[in-house]
Every structure is written in C-alpha cells, then in structure tokens.
Subunit: 166 residues, 2 copies
DNA sequence: TTATATTTTCAATATTTTTTGAAAACAAAA
DNA sequence: TTTTGTTTTCAAAAAATATTGAAAATATAA
C-alpha cells in the first residue's frame, strides 16, 4: 500500500467509525487529517485536503476545539490561523469521554433521577420501577468509572486495562 | 410526577440517548417500551404504544432481536407473535457490546492493520506512523477489555467497576 | 384445497442532518 | 481613516436517514 493511500484510508475509517458513533463524519475526518499532519494546517489546507467548503471546515474546526481535540496556533507576523491536533491518544480518549459524558450521560442520569421519584407508586408498576432502579445503578457505576478514567494519567490508563484483562 | 408521565419520559430519554450514540431512535423506544412492559407485547401494541407504522414496528423489532435485546414468544393457540425484552441490565449491556464491537470496532482494527503495513515507508511519514501505532495499541487494548467484559458474568461486572473506581 | 390472520418487504415520502457559499463581521495593515 | 485578508454566520440546497403504507409473502385455520 502506498503511504498516500494509507493516509486516505485512515481518514476515511476514522470518519466512518465516528459516524457509526453519532459523531459528524467530517468532523472526524478533519481530526484525522490534523492527527497525521506533521505541521499545523490552515483552514484552507483542511478545505483542500478534504474537498470541503470553507463554512464546513470552519464549523468542524470550532467543534474540535470545543471538544479539546484540536488547538489553534498563531504564527507571529502571519494573519492566518493554524490548527493542530492533540497527539497523545490517551488525552484524546479522555477529552472524548469528558465531552460525551457531559452532553449525554449526565442528562440521562438527571432524567433517571426525576423518573425515579415516581417510586411511591411503584407497587402498581413493579416492572417499570425495577428497570429504572437497575439502569440507575448501572449508569451511576459507569459514571463513577468514567470519572476515575478522566482523572487517571496515561500510565494509569494502561494499568486499568491491564487489571481488567488479567 | 404521574407514573404514566414517568414511563413516557423514560421512553423518550432512552430514545434520545440512543440516537446520540448512532442508534435508531425508534429502535431504542421500542426497546424501552418492552423493557417496562410487565407482559410481552404484540406488534400492534407496539405500534399503538409509540404511534408508529406497522413496517416501522416490524423492522425495529427484528433489529432488536438481531441485537439479542428482544425475544419472541409464541402463545399456544394464538396466531400473533409476542415480544419481550431481556430484563437483566448486565446482559443488555453485554449484548450491545457484542453487537457494536463486531460491527464497528473489529472492522476498524482490520483497517488499522492494513494501514500499518505501510510501516516500511515510515521514516518519511513519522507522524502518520506514530499515530497509527498508538491507535492500534489503544484499540487492541480496548478490544481485549471488551472481550473480558463480554465473558464476565453479572457479578464480575460489578467487581470490575469496583476495582476501577477504588 | 380456499379463506383469513399475520408478518414482511420496499418504493415512495417525510424528516433530520450536513454542507454549501456568499454576505456580514472582524481584524490587521496601509 | 480605508483597504485587504481572514473568519464567521446562516439561509438555502443537498444528502443521508427514517418512516409509511399498501402489496406480497407467509402461515394457520376452515
């Protein structure tokens, strides 16, 4: 495989995987492009590299910065903005966890808490109450675990996995 | 909150959460409806309960059975099919992991392996090679961890989480 | 066998999500 | 100040995804 073909394939797969997980495909492709770029890129280079419009490039670069996966670099004497991706994969994973946890898991927990307040009526709705109880238990455990992961450093990450697969 | 309102809210949130994660919203709502139903439901009851068409109900019930989250029950003397959800939450989580791992993580790993074969040319593309190397390492670890989780029983699940948050 | 109940399929339609591109906003330089 | 290069916005268009509903297929009963 040509190196250029490999890069192309990597960008495509990263985008495909992301869209399977409910993340905008182009956002992931911009991320992939910056991940494998040896130097920071301008918005124009991103547009060119992925054949996307200026608006699209701009929106997805902002979103990536919002997720903490991409940063801006200003070169002195230059007017253009340069963008580069966080290269440490553990930090990438951590940032994704932080973002999705806040935007998705936490609101779900909130709803579950609200819903759990129907418990007084539970004898008449046993199945419902049991399901809510079990999901709350599981989600809270997942939430705690994610908090631990977020706080853990790169070394801890490996350790946690090692402990789990042992 | 009324119990009926609580059920409604639960179905909606379950659907919302799923669609955030790239899973069809209606599929998750059907799942939620069956989860909190004290007895198995017919396709007609699902249609009625969620105000969806017969085709939609049918497709999503099939998908849920394909994921191993819903099962069919035939009542003797009756012609209709009844559907009920797997209620054990750890089994639910396990089935979701099994399904998504097979459909998404494994294909990604395959692509990464292919892409990694450009390594001979790596000195000329250091950044790319490093990124691929790191992602492969991480994905393989995640893959192993998921395999362990899948094999683990309900008790193990709690243990693993407890070990991680300790 | 034929009639009837039920499920499945899938082309057409509707909805949601993403992308475009040009105008507006902004910011540095002249 | 005005000009020029650059980024941001967002309404309209395009693309992707989900849903409908009626016809076809299937299965049970008569």
């Amino acid at each position: 495989m040509e190196i250029q073909e490999g890069k192309q394939k990597f960008i495509e797969s990263w985008g495909k995987m992301a869209s399977d997980w409910g993340i905008n495909r182009t956002m992931a492709q911009v991320h992939a492009l910056l991940l494998i770029a040896p130097e920071p890129l301008t918005a124009d280079e991103v547009m060119e590299g992925l054949s996307i419009s200026r608006g699209n490039a701009n929106m997805n670069l902002r979103a990536l910065m919002d997720w903490g996966l991409v940063h801006k670099q200003l070169k002195s004497g230059e007017r253009k903005e340069y963008f580069f991706a966080e290269k440490d994969m553990w930090t990438v994973v951590r940032q994704i966890i932080v973002h999705r946890k806040k935007k998705e898991l936490e609101p779900m927990l909130k709803v579950l808490d609200e819903v759990a307040n129907v418990e007084p009526n539970c004898p008449e709705s046993e199945t419902f109450c049991n399901v809510v109880k079990d999901i709350r238990l599981l989600s809270n455990k997942a939430n705690q675990t994610l908090d631990t992961l977020i706080k853990a450093d790169s070394g801890w990450f490996s350790n946690i996995f090692l402990r789990m697969v042992r």
